[in-house]
Symmetry: C2
Subunit: 118 residues, 2 copies
Amino acid sequence: MKDLHYHISIKLYKDERVFGPGIYQLLSLVEQTGSLRAAAMKMEMSYNKAWGIVSMVEKNSGITMLQKQSGGVHGGGAVLTPQAKQLISDYRKYIEEVNAFAKERFDAYFADFREEQP
Amino acid sequence: MKDLHYHISIKLYKDERVFGPGIYQLLSLVEQTGSLRAAAMKMEMSYNKAWGIVSMVEKNSGITMLQKQSGGVHGGGAVLTPQAKQLISDYRKYIEEVNAFAKERFDAYFADFREEQP
């Protein structure tokens, strides 16, 4: 039997969900590839689905996430707006800090529990 | 528009999910009421569903969670085993600590973001 481990999920909300692991991964891939289509492919997601996620996040947050490039966002490449870059950077650092803390406290609370349950 | 806020979810796994917010709430209510049936009612859940959740958690964790009372678990009351009490106590403390940390860091990272998005 595997050791006990934890999974943590943190999502940001206003009235509706604004930001979570899925949109974070998608926008990070747009940042790396310069293309929403390429980002969607890497996530094994249809382009339409990816576009729908970005639209929903933009609507719920009130923040434009993607800047149109030559050919428009649908045609040419896509780059993140400064606000989107700030948001994914803050989210990344935030998640990393909370995860580091959660891991340390998990080990403190559940190390004994794991040993008792071989 | 509401302020930006976060939601954190922490679940414990071995091979399968062992413990999360739902079973925590259910077992906490068993502890308070002394009855799985009363706990299920408070969660607006059928007794069968509650029993299924407890069984699944017991199977996945390898830990017996409920002790049989007079009349058996199905009939009379139910009390938590010492191991279940330990687990929900550790989980509660763990979640509280991680939440306190996550709240503090959230305020640090996203206070500016909130002000920029009135």
